[in-house]
Amino acid sequence: MSGKRSTFLLSALVFGFAFLYVPILLVMIYSFNEGKLVTVWTGFSTKWYVSLFSNDGMIDAAWNSLRIGVMSATLALALGTPAGLVMSRFGRFKGRTLFSGMIAAPLVMPEVITGLSLLLLFVTLEQMVGWPAGRGISTITIAHTTFCAAYVAVVVQSRLSGMDTSVEEAAMDLGAKPAKIFFVITLPMILPALLAGWLLSFTLSLDDLVIASFVAGPGSTTLPMKVFSSVRLGVSPEINALATLIILAVSAMILISSLLILRSERNRSRASSTEEA
């Protein structure tokens, strides 16, 4: 009886992970294919990596994406952290409903709408006040900051509402004023959540095609835009090479971070077990 069940679960897992990973693995394998076609394996070669790195358009786009990603993740953190704090710790205030709506809405807003509306804002602003003059890196950064800030706010809010307020009250009781409490007590305690929020924002920004396409200008093509225009025409070995690099980089990052988490957890449990002994 339980044998039947576990066979079913096992095959579900095998099938599911095959479904998740076979396409990625195929892309990685064919990035080393000498020929241009996906279907025929003509021999091992790294020439597509060479051609990827000599593709200036691609390198520029990647550079743009990285810059936008770092800037908008940082700005999103700066805006989203106070927003999350307000949502979980400030109680009622005038306009709270609108505020929480503006934080929840970007998460469910279709990207096409966000992109269109921000473009129209930038066009209107340019007409009215002359800023932003043309569109480019800065408009993309503003757009990404806005929706990433909402994600950061949600991450921070959920971390804070899971956290006992008595620690902050204790700090206040011992004479610390609100601003100090935030920087000395709250911030260090939610640091992992902030890091997660930053990484999430960075990834979302790097990954975004639709919003960037709306608010980009000439000379501010991002990596997804570049990839998209080349992928539309079909499979390209250069993109295979790029995909492989991205996947390897992400895997390495995740591996390292989970090892770090594992180690700190182990340290922690060792410390508490020596105490009990």
């Binding site: 927003a83 269109l116 503003i142 709306f214 895997s251």
Partner: protein, 313 residues
């Protein structure tokens, strides 16, 4: 108390502290508030405004609603765009199609994701964290590239066709890319992790002894699953389904890359109005319609949902 020390004797730091205590709260609320207001709310008002304008060959390509004549301002509201949306059933079709495709994909994702989540939740500790990492990993890699991976598989010259031709099962390549089926595959593939993670977290938290109790009381295993496991994991099912349904309804990339020319979805329609037809007012009207018929109901549903959860806890 410090409040009766004279103003003059205060140091700069004391003044700053006092100012912060008085205005700090307003500042902390105000900065994100103003940003979101300016870059999230105001844009919608502008979209609303432009949806009432007329398309023109100009820069920007729409007419102005306000005419400055000597007596003052006259406002010309043009409902033509909305009437056009109603008259041409392309838009209604695209809207309904989006919902249908998103709903079907969500169900498929659930059917694949539930057993996976269940299997992960029942796995041993170390295996479990590895499996979980394997679910999370694709989420951090590029979305576009994951869709792209399927082009190489489903294409006319793709791997499946090559394999089938080689085995001799078929003599003519099958059309798999540029069909609705390919869109389902793309959505299920890219959003599967979003389904598995919330399901996993409810299933993992669930007490195994509940199922044991059901078995002990004479329930057959599948019945125990239907009567105990499934109802208790409903919050996870709902959360996962929403996480899949919401982004896939407005999806542009997947139907564009994997779907055929007549796989109409509302996000794609808006994109085409804007980039291909350069009709900004119609695109705005589509956006407003999406907002009213899609985003508002979803937000309302979520609002009710959280209210209910709060009441239960």
């Amino acid at each position: 108390m410090t409040s009766d020390t004279p103003e003059k004797s205060l140091s700069l730091k004391q003044r700053f502290d006092r100012w912060m205590i008085k205005h700090g709260r307003v500042l902390v609320i105000g900065i994100p508030y103003v940003w979101l207001f300016l870059f999230f709310l105001v844009p919608f008002l502008i979209v609303l405004k432009i949806s009432f304008a007329m398309a023109e060959y100009a820069q920007p390509p729409y007419s102005s609603l306000f005419d400055w004549i000597e007596e003052g301002v006259t406002v010309t509201l043009n409902f033509g765009n909305y009437l056009f949306l109603l008259s041409d059933n392309l838009y209604a079709t695209a809207y309904l199609n989006s919902i249908r495709i998103a709903a079907i994909s969500t169900v498929i994702t659930l059917l694949i994701g539930y057993p996976m989540a269940y299997g992960i939740a029942r796995a041993r500790g170390s295996v479990r964290s590895i499996l979980l990492m394997l679910v999370i990993l694709p989420f951090w890699t590029s979305f576009l590239i994951r869709v792209y991976a399927w082009i190489g598989i489903l294409d006319r010259e793709g791997l499946i066709n090559a394999f089938l031709l080689w085995t001799g099962i078929i003599t003519e390549p099958l059309i798999m890319r540029q069909t609705e089926g390919a869109v389902f595959v793309g959505i299920v593939y890219t959003y599967l992790p979003f389904m598995i993670l919330p399901l996993y977290s409810t299933l993992e938290k669930m007490d195994v002894s509940l199922i044991e109790a059901a078995l002990d009381l004479g329930c057959k295993p599948w019945k125990a699953f239907l009567k105990v496991t499934l109802p208790l994991s409903m919050p996870g099912v709902l959360a996962g389904s929403l996480l899949v349904f919401i982004p896939s309804v407005g999806e542009f990339v997947i139907p564009e890359l994997l779907g055929g020319p007549n796989t109409l979805m509302i996000g794609r329609t808006l994109w085409n109005e804007f980039f291909a037809n350069r009709d900004w007012p119609i695109a705005s009207a589509v956006a407003i319609a999406m907002l009213v018929f899609l985003v508002v109901p979803i937000m309302w549903f979520q609002h009710i949902q959280t209210k209910q959860e709060e009441r239960q806890s």
